[in-house]
């Protein structure tokens, strides 16, 4: 064994940081080649929504919601939109392509990396990226009079945790669908409804009671409320919201690991 290589133990632990960072280093190497396009769309799309709804509706139909100028209401809510579209969607398509078309996972799993480490690394990487993109609408809203507040420092944490959950959801979906076009069902049945019933554009208190109950189990709604808490003041219930997001991330992580194990190990 040469000086380049490490002496190796006969047993290796679960969830080794070296395996997780190794997989993430592959993501970083690839991201360096396409970051401009991804960043452009991840930043621009929520901004377009923010400007269209915030300025459009704010200037014509709605002045304030719950005592907050409408553009600030939408701007704080748009964090959730940026998070779901930069986590669930890349997790679904990226995982599917790497597994089915590029055979990337076959090569990674031939190294001392197990499926749990692989999935964890993919989720953490996507969530980290998404936490950054998620903060952009909030920062832009500063230009429309949103005052910085200390609670906003927690927004990247909230965004990361939510993105972790949606990345797990995306990975699990990628391991479940048979063909890439089946993501249309996933988007239509899950992603779009979750995005629309998150309280981003209107308070969910105005929705029918049954829909309000459904909205309460929507992780994006919990994120929207936490971001608004950071901007306008937290409430005690926000601890429960944070715990809900933590549980969502843990649940989707385990489901993603299980689904991917079935898919990758014969």
């Amino acid at each position: 064994m040469s000086a380049e290589t490490q002496a190796r133990p006969r047993t290796m632990r679960r969830l080794e940081p070296a395996a997780i960072t190794g997989v993430m280093s592959r993501e970083v190497a690839n991201f360096r080649t396409y970051w401009k396009g991804t960043t452009f769309s991840s930043v621009l799309e929520p901004l377009v929504y923010l400007l269209a709804f915030g300025l459009g509706l704010g200037a014509t139909l709605v002045d304030e919601v719950e005592g907050v100028p409408y553009i600030q209401f939408v701007g704080t809510g748009m964090v959730a939109t940026a998070v779901i579209f930069s986590s669930a969607v890349p997790a679904m398509f990226g995982t599917f392509v790497k597994h089915r078309f590029q055979n990337t996972y076959e090569a990674i799993l031939a190294a001392p990396v197990d499926v749990e480490e692989l999935v964890t690394a993919e989720m953490v990487w996507i969530a980290g990226r998404s936490a950054v993109y998620g903060c952009v609408p909030l920062i832009v809203t500063f230009f429309w009079g949103l005052d910085p507040a200390p609670g906003m420092l927690l927004v990247p944490v909230f965004a990361f945790l939510t993105a972790l959950g949606f990345a797990g959801f995306g990975v699990a979906m990628a391991a479940t669908v048979a063909k890439i076009d089946q993501f249309n069902y996933v988007t239509a049945l899950f992603v779009t409804p979750l995005f629309l019933v998150a309280g981003t554009f209107f308070p969910i208190s105005g929705l029918p009671e049954g829909v309000q109950v459904v909205a309460q189990v929507n992780p994006l709604h919990q994120l929207v409320e936490l971001v608004r808490g950071g901007a306008f003041g937290f409430e005690a219930v926000d601890i429960a919201r944070f715990a809900f997001l933590l549980a969502f991330a843990l649940l989707t992580w385990r489901v993603a690991v299980s689904r991917m194990s079935k898919r990758l190990i014969d």
Binding site: A3, R8, A19, T33
Partner: protein, 296 residues
Amino acid sequence: MAAIELSRVVKHFGAITAVDGLDLDVPEGICLGLLGPNGAGKSTTMRLLTGQAIADAGELRVLGYELPAQSKPARAEMGVVPQLDNLDVDVTVEDNLAVYARLYRVKDVGAAVDRCLDLARLRDRRKDAVDELSGGMRRRLLLVRGLVHEPKLVLLDEPTVGLDPQIRTELWTLIGDLKARGTTILMSTHYIEEAERLSDEVAVMHKGKVINRGRPADLIAEHAGTHTAEVYAAPDRLIELRASAEAAGLRVRPAGPAIAIVGSERAGDGAVPEDAVVRAATLEDVFVLLTGEEAE
């Protein structure tokens, strides 16, 4: 200790038995060619060895590690070169290697990358994206990526499948260098010439099990004798000639548009027609006789 020890290994995929009671030992320091037709179970065997398939029955031990329980430390000490090119095409040559050096926990990533670049003769292309490389360069890179941690054991899964002869020869040179350094190699292939040139021993796999094994020269001597007579003729005449050779106790196999009369040195007068082309017996003759499949 053998580098690989498989005992009575079975793997089913639904109603299909891909590996059927496989026994296989690979001693340290040799190159064993796993030769078999498509569907013989070679790729499943490779997946079992990398922990990407779990056996339904049997015992597997790699470099002293029990599989699948100790698959992870076993994988840390073996290198795998896949059948399909799964390099990251937009990423530079050196980053492709660096990523796998990290995955294999190599301490000095830079030195490992440099060593692999030299091995693949790609040092001057290190900053280029993989997409910009020729087919041969990509395959060399794929091969050395599996050697980035200087493994004790290398699994080559159909390393030259679908490649043109020039690239195949380049890879054979690299694999030859690896052999010369004493690395244990298990190479699955369905190319007879590849198995014959590179392997110290060949195990012929058919329907999920090894049906014969030995040094290529020994297998040829045992099953095919010294000479084979190939006869090219119209189909009707080939049928007649085949019947007559078999009646004389000779083994005959199809050889594309011809028939090959194996062990023709043992033929009596008239059993081999005068217009036959007599050549030295090959591993291909053995392969076809044992498996009943046409060779590539």
